[in-house]
């Protein structure tokens, strides 16, 4: 029974973590006015779609 509960909790946490990661990344992209095709690395000059030429 204990193993069953732990296994369910582990799978549920994996799903929640993945969803939270995906959601937070999307929020970050939308704040940067990104088209979701831009990466948001520190050294990238790309800050989303504010300027067309900065978007890949």
């Amino acid at each position: 029974m204990f193993i069953k509960i732990v296994a369910n909790l582990v799978v549920a946490s994996i799903i929640l973590a993945l969803l939270a990661f995906a959601f937070s990344l999307m929020v970050k992209q939308s704040k940067e006015e990104s088209c979701a095709s831009c990466s948001s690395k520190k050294r990238s000059a790309c800050k989303g779609c504010q300027f067309a030429d900065k978007c890949h």
């Binding site: 069953k4 369910n8 994996i14 095709s37 790309c46 779609c49 300027f51 067309a52 030429d53």
Partner: protein, 653 residues
């Protein structure tokens, strides 16, 4: 903090130099017009700006207006004039105008590595003496001369030495001196130079005149007389005379500073690449090669392998979940939702990497500009702006920046038409759908892939022709498209572009595709009473069945295909993940046939783009009504085209 402004002709390597100086990775393209807004970065504690490429400071185009306004209003501490060393004379025309602005100037002779190949020798010392500004020779693509450039930047910033102004013929100089002597010139805005203002008055530059108070009648009469006398003497209007004078100075400096050896001309590839008839078949052949290598060869090996890997992973998750008694809902979300959905999109990463790599190579070597050139002719025939080709070429990557780059088109109707037709060009996000259908229904028939591009171009042509018939104004405008020289693609540029595009694709799989896969799984597993049911009885099936009959004439009137189209509004890659979750990619053959697969591809290619692109369209069109018409046109056109394509395929088979 001091400010540096990078300025120069289009495609002279400003952005490559900007990236080198700032350590960033802004998009670099081997064709003019890549930079349409200014970019900002930091180098050695100084602020540096990359301005759009321009040929002159005469405000004809938005790029020229932006660059001129920036230099005049912001007064950078140093103007770095990037000169294509192999095109010295033309570049010096802009240098002459920059010298008149009264800001410290540094001339950077870029592409020095190509000089020997072109048989050109430049006397940099003499050029520096004649221009009255320091000269540094570099190769931005090879990264040579950068240390010397940085040293010279520091020197210029501390010395603040002004360049020499180019002198015109005595007849013109006489009027310039007279105008400078008048009190009216003391009213020029701060930071403007007297000589520059005098020339603008002779040219009757509207932008400058609008920034000045009305001149006294006597002075106004003098200016008009001077303009008339210049016209009589040179037989041309004053603006053209000043242009001619500047070119003469540029010609004189270039003649004294450079020696050109005549080089033997071999086979000219452009005789085919830009030929009126041969260019299109060549383009299709090259694209067929690109698709064969990426989707056919690489995809043929990697996609089945990765599919097996993700199927194995899903199976292991199910087995493990069963063993430990995990709820079917949770194991289903993880294995049949996330792993199946995201995995189905990730299986295309290797082939898309190769596709992006090949497209970057084509762009960086200069071939894409040839495509732009042959399409430019077509654009004019259609009543579109010559500049419309820029969004269309950018659109092969992503429609969002492509739509936004249309803002450089001056005429409203041409701009709006460009915004509407740009999504017809297949973007990278649609590629997984095409790759999926081509792999399952047309293995080995790689000639179909370039036909997708051809179909997109046909849609642009038909829309353009219709708009031309309906538009009574028929605006035309001049656009100079300069063909860049062919070059060996820079490994750094190619790698940066390929990496950014591929990472962007993977990032999308980890965000929107992941979320939509979970939602699609839940909707396809439960009924409206929240009971676990077969997919056919699910909420998704019920919703899909409402719109599915609309697509019956197109051959895909089943709910899975309709729902996939709806999720494609969020991101086009979602179509693949939705089909994978609801049908399973291995079962595509039981739902689609060859004709319905082609019809499905056509509809996806031409129907309204993803939500990000629709929002970009709204920004550029600026009206909900226009956006509605645009989306209706795109979707209606896609429907008719898909129907026609299906009929043709059915008749042909």
């Amino acid at each position: 903090m001091q400010t540096l402004a990078l300025i120069g002709n289009p495609n002279c390597g400003k952005t490559t130099l900007f990236n080198l100086l700032t350590g960033t990775s802004a998009y670099v393209g081997n064709w003019p017009g890549v930079t349409v807004e200014k970019k900002e970065g930091m180098t050695n504690g100084h602020r540096i700006l990359d301005l759009p490429g321009i040929y002159s400071l005469s405000p004809y185009s938005p790029e020229e207006k932006l660059s001129r306004r920036y230099i005049l209003d912001e007064q950078p501490d140093l103007i770095i004039d990037v000169i294509d060393a192999t095109n010295l004379e033309r570049s010096l025309y802009l240098t002459n105008q920059l010298a008149e602005l009264g800001r410290p100037l540094l001339l950077v002779l870029n592409m020095e590595d190509l000089l020997e190949k072109e048989g050109i020798t430049i006397d940099a010392k003499l050029l520096s003496q004649m221009a009255g500004a320091p000269v540094v020779q570099i190769s931005a693509s090879k990264g040579t001369g950068i240390a010397e450039l940085q040293e010279q930047i520091e020197k210029c910033l501390s010395e603040k030495k002004l360049p020499l102004c180019p002198l015109f013929s005595n007849f013109v100089e006489r009027y310039i001196s007279e105008i400078i002597g008048d009190d009216y010139l003391h009213q020029i805005p701060k930071g403007r130079q007297m000589r520059w203002a005098a020339i603008k008055l002779l040219e009757a530059d509207e932008l400058f005149l609008s920034s000045m108070p009305a001149p006294p009648p006597a002075f106004q009469a003098y200016i008009e007389r001077a303009r008339k006398e210049l016209e009589t003497h040179f037989g041309d209007d004053p603006e053209a005379i000043i242009i001619d004078q500047r070119y003469k100075v540029a010609e004189h400096i270039a003649k004294d500073c450079q020696i050109k050896k005549k080089t033997k001309k071999g086979f000219d590839f452009d005789s085919i690449a830009t030929h009126r008839i041969a260019a299109i078949p060549l383009f299709l052949a090259i694209m067929a090669g690109v698709f064969y290598l990426s989707i056919g060869l690489v995809g043929g090996y990697t996609t089945p392998l990765l599919e097996e890997l993700f199927a194995f992973l899903g199976e292991q998750v199910h087995q493990g979940a069963d063993r430990f008694g995990v709820l079917p809902l949770l194991s289903g979300i993880l294995a049949d939702g996330i792993i199946a959905g995201v995995g189905s999109v990730l299986t295309f990463v290797p082939q898309l990497f190769v596709l992006f790599l090949l497209l970057s190579l084509l762009e960086d070597c200069g071939y894409m500009a040839r495509i732009a050139f042959i399409m430019d002719r077509m654009m004019r025939t259609l009543g579109l702006s010559g500049k419309s080709i820029i969004p269309l070429v950018i659109g092969t990557g992503c429609s969002v920046p492509a739509i936004m780059s249309s803002r450089t088109i001056e005429h409203q109707k041409q701009r709006e038409l460009t915004v509407i037709v740009t999504p017809f060009i297949p973007c990278g996000a649609k590629m997984p759908v095409f790759a999926l259908m081509l792999t399952y229904f047309f293995p080995g028939k790689w000639f179909i892939a370039p036909m997708i591009y051809l179909l997109g171009i046909v849609a642009v042509v038909v829309t353009g022709l219709l708009a031309r018939v309906l538009d009574r104004h028929k605006e035309t405008n001049a656009f100079i498209l300069e063909l860049p020289r062919y070059q060996i693609p820079s490994p750094r540029n190619t790698w940066l572009q390929t990496r950014e595009r591929t990472l962007g694709f993977i990032q999308k799989a980890g965000t929107i595709i992941l979320l939509s896969s979970v939602i699609i799984y839940l909707l396809s597993s439960y009924s409206f009473t929240l009971q676990a049911v077969d997919a056919d009885q699910s909420m998704l099936a019920m919703l899909g069945r409402i719109i599915a009959p609309l697509f019956a004439p197109l051959g895909f009137g089943f709910w899975q295909a309709s729902v996939a189209l709806l999720t494609g509004i969020a991101a086009k890659e979602s179509i693949v993940s939705t089909l994978s979750v609801t049908i399973g990619t291995a079962n595509l053959g039981t739902f689609f046939t060859a004709d319905s697969a082609i019809s499905y591809m056509t509809f996806i290619l031409l129907s309204s783009p993803c939500i990000a692109a629709i929002s970009a369209m709204f920004k550029e069109l600026g009206s909900k009504r226009k956006l509605l018409y645009a989306v209706l046109w795109q979707t209606g056109f896609a429907y008719v085209a898909a129907l026609l394509v299906r009929l043709i395929v059915l008749l042909a088979v």
